[in-house]
Symmetry: C2
Subunit: 253 residues, 2 copies
């Protein structure tokens, strides 16, 4: 059984702790929380550590802290030549302190504390320095997900940037939709089936083939009337830029 | 039984014809196609007309043509004082020729010819000039959808603008994600579970609460490294503007 320690208890850390606690192929041995008072009821007290010095050697130490702290945290680990990975989409494997064997275990998903996720469907991107370490990461990843990919640091960075577009930015556009509805006394719920269908469509169509709307049709009259309608300057700027980008795309076809 | 004619056979027109053909509460009497050679095999030949003069009086005539043609098409209708509606999100009811009773029948969804849709889940926004006409529109809308809303022209415009943000612009961001993956030899499929989850999340969370990512966290280091990574000028402009918009949002909280 692969012994695991997790450092960090943010959105992803909490989901990892939950899924790895209920997993028969691994054993969760330690969870590092800076403030042990914040530990939830379901986390057995004997797993919790809050001093780096108390971390013990395991088969796999997963650092799941914010990107800016990975380098520092990896240097605080009190042992050498163990497999230590981070979970970040945007940080190179080289940022990890080289006193330990380095790796990456990046689940490509958006995590909110209050929303359950099904790890089975989440692609996990792994990176390691040698085949033995790949084997450990692959065993752990396979035990929680059906979709495991070997992705190097440069590709992972591309993937992370792409994820910002299709997740973070997309969600921000949902929020603008919500704001426009609220300003006009329309329940945002009317838009939810459209949002779901827009996401569903690209299961079977390429985004290019799925594109619809006034910019795709070159319908300048509608575009003008939308711009007349918008009063929020920020909404207007975003409308203009994305419309322009779609128009240019159509012209390239 | 309510007798219906449909003018136009674009994305929406085709889906309306399909769903109304298989509907026991209405009778589809005529379908106007400019070019009858483009009629698909499933459309009975006796329904097809391609000259406005051949249109007959029915209980409800649905004009489903592109926005710029609605006014002109409604003026070509060869009868008076019938209920004639359009299906557009962005056109006011007043654009319809006033020789007939005016209304709107706007299904808020994205339609692609090659993708089946389930009308039951699609919100239909209706508008009419009197209660009798509302009754006709509500009967037809209720017969195909579980979600029927009375929405006036001003609100419908807001809804249409919001729909451009949460559907057309969102799909364009999917396309940018696809482009970034392709440039870096990563299968776009790795992003698909993230795309689905991002849409699923707002079924239970408000977009504000669902927001994640470097801009939400104020993680300037990651933002800078993403901007260094992007080489496409258009992608860079969009990244900057949407990041700025999220940052400003966070500051407002």
């Amino acid at each position: 059984m692969i012994k695991i320690a997790i450092i960090g208890f943010g959105n992803l850390g909490q989901h990892l702790v939950k899924t790895l606690s209920n997993n028969s192929s691994v054993q969760l041995v330690q969870v590092y929380l800076r403030d042990p008072k914040k530990a939830p009821y379901f986390l057995p007290k004997n797993l919790i550590v809050s001093d780096f010095k108390d971390l013990v050697e395991v088969d796999l130490t997963i650092i799941s802290v914010n990107d800016n702290s990975i380098e520092e945290v990896s240097s605080q680990i009190p042992f050498n030549n163990n497999l230590v990975v981070h979970t970040s989409g945007s940080i190179s494997i080289d940022k990890l302190n080289s006193k330990n064997r380095k790796g990456v275990f990046y689940p490509l998903q958006t995590f909110s504390k209050s929303k359950e996720v099904n790890f089975e469907e989440i692609p996990i991107c792994i990176e390691a320095e040698n085949s033995e370490d790949y084997k450990i990461l692959k065993t752990v990843a396979d035990s929680i997900s059906k979709s495991v990919h070997i992705i190097n640091s440069e590709q992972r960075k591309a993937l992370h940037v792409a994820a910002v577009f299709v997740c973070n930015f997309v969600n921000h556009l949902y929020q603008i939709g919500d704001e426009i509805c609220t300003e006009n006394n329309i329940p945002f719920a009317i838009l939810k089936p459209l949002i779901q269908e827009t996401a569903q469509k690209i299961k079977t169509l390429s985004p290019k083939d799925a594109q619809t709307g006034p910019a795709k049709r070159g319908d300048n009259q509608t575009i003008e009337s939308h711009l007349d309608f918008l009063t929020n300057k920020n909404h207007t700027k975003i409308y203009k830029l994305l419309t322009q980008s779609i128009l240019e795309n159509v012209q390239k076809l």
